[in-house]
Symmetry: C2
């Protein structure tokens, strides 16, 4: 089934048929109808490869997920993100090419692949530390949007949640509800999300006139096990603590188990607030108070920015910060207990 045949059936030239397919306005309505009928009758679908070859666009965008497996599996973050991305891509007829490099070697091949022009743009999620990828892609003139924050000094578009604001809200709530010793389990400090939530924690304490105590801060890795470990450390250093702000629900689930094992009642003895509002938050006993962020929304927004920078090549990088919302449940007192 080629355009040629469609054109023949419709009694027009290939060029006119092409114009109809691509929605050019300069086509006689009658000719247009003829071509449309032929397309429908023959079940014609354009050959992407041929089109790509001449337009130099691939109509597909790459989604790169750089994350060790542990987090990838424990947390519904990625399915949600992919779902949002897919939803935004699909009405535009763009393909979602999923890339999950799992070794140095694959990383190398990934970069080569992305810069070879097989792809119109790239979405990057969950960057760590000083990942050189966004900078390099941008340098090669490939449209990039980062979910979360790009490394310092790299000026590319990104979409992020208001991690800082969410953390401030959570910790302020703990303070306002009368807790005296508020600890935190932070995310990995090589990730912007980890750092921002920790900054929010500190700011909330500071603005409430509390003094900061570094020994009340423990770093986790966004995994359940690391949350449990951090909780054990905090409990040992500060047996008197009566509240913890945990930078992810998954880590909070780990912390909750440790508190349970240590026979601290939640929320009576220790209040706990997580972050993400992932389904996990409803799975714990008691259910977790948490900071809600919409990861699907983030995915959609990333696509929007990417399409903009594909269409308008040298526009300045943009950034979108999505609001977060404190959700109160049983784990910090006051909310429903199941």
């Amino acid at each position: 089934m080629t355009l040629e045949e469609v054109a023949r059936v419709a009694g027009v030239s290939r060029a006119t048929a092409s114009r109809v397919v691509n929605g050019s306005p300069k086509v006689n309505p009658q000719a247009r109808r003829g071509v449309e009928r032929a397309i429908a009758r023959l079940g014609y679908v354009p050959n992407r490869a041929a089109r790509s070859l001449v337009t130099r666009r691939s109509d597909s965008i790459g989604v790169v997920i750089r994350e060790p497996t542990a987090r990838l599996f424990g947390d519904p973050y990625f399915p949600q993100l992919l779902s949002g991305i897919s939803a935004a891509l699909s009405p535009r007829g763009l393909q979602l090419i999923l890339l999950m490099p799992r070794s140095r070697e694959e990383d190398r091949r990934l970069e080569q692949y992305l810069t070879a022009g097989h792809i119109d743009g790239v979405l990057l999620a969950s960057l760590h530390g000083n990942d050189p990828l966004p900078g390099r892609l941008d340098g090669d003139g490939i449209p990039v949007v980062v979910g979360g924050r790009p490394p310092e000094g790299v000026r590319v578009s990104f979409v992020d949640n208001d991690n800082y604001g969410g953390a401030v809200a959570a910790v302020s709530h703990l303070i306002a509800s009368g807790r005296h010793t508020v600890a935190t389990i932070s995310g990995p400090l090589d990730m912007e999300a980890g750092v921002a939530r920790l900054r929010g924690y500190r700011e909330a304490l500071r603005s409430a006139g509390r003094s900061l105590d570094p020994s009340l801060e423990a770093e986790g890795e966004f995994t359940q096990e690391s949350g449990a470990q951090a909780m054990r450390a905090l409990l040992q250093r500060h047996p008197e603590l009566d509240a913890v702000f945990v930078a992810s629900d998954l880590m909070a689930a780990g912390a909750l188990q440790v508190l349970n094992a240590a026979e601290r009642r939640v929320p009576d003895d220790v209040a706990i607030v997580g972050f993400d509002d992932s389904p996990i938050a409803l799975m714990t006993v008691p259910p977790l108070s948490t900071v809600r962020q919409s990861i699907e929304e983030m995915g959609r927004e990333m696509v929007r920015l990417l399409l903009e920078s594909i269409d308008e090549r040298d526009r300045a990088p943009r950034q979108v910060i999505l609001v977060t919302e404190l959700i109160l449940r049983g784990s910090c007192g006051g909310g429903p207990m199941s």
Copy 2:
């Protein structure tokens, strides 16, 4: 950067350069080296579209995920599956195109897309009921592999876990450890995985000489909330039950909450065994005994079968059944309690 330039730099014809790129054996070692050097120097990467146009292969395979969002997010099933698929695809240089249709309309477009030859093969995951898609794709001569089971009567390759065997093992264990009234929360009965696990439950009871009681069976939908609901129903119908086999960990988490709320101690009053060995199983208190299956392995195996049927067009459909393993933890007594 085109093959033409590479050829010129290496002092050979485009044809020879192409032979080197594609690993044809009939090339003089010296010419080969020259071309390879030129490729390295120029950073040449073949243009996929041009290649596709002539070979009539796209070197990409579609992964279709047909699942309502609830399950998609609660459960690490899909990230694991994608990870396995991606791992198996990447050394072959094949693209993973992710497709998540979310409406009738998108479903229609999906089918058109898949049959238009944009894709060398299709992987289908998580089919429900009598999904016509696998049969139709197969009818159109498109290589297909299903994760789980294809609908009855559709003869396509598939990879499945030994759902039946796993269920038998789990329930047999509950019986052997002295439980008297063993109930089950099954998966949705429009999915083969749901049905097979229920059959396993029944078979284990039967072969232990127990009688079957339909009121000990409640159907869930593989979501946490449906598990909780089913547990409530079971508890009402059979307050005396002392064991439950739940067809997924996520549902088991829901059931556990209900047991908790009903003040039944687990495992003392009620033993519970889940299915999947998802990270959720370690998140509950006590941790869940469960039936382990390797979803990543399933993904890899699906790719293997798909590549086989792409390479050898009219081979008979194949099936692979992956073994499952009973993992004992705190929730059914005997295992570790945390």
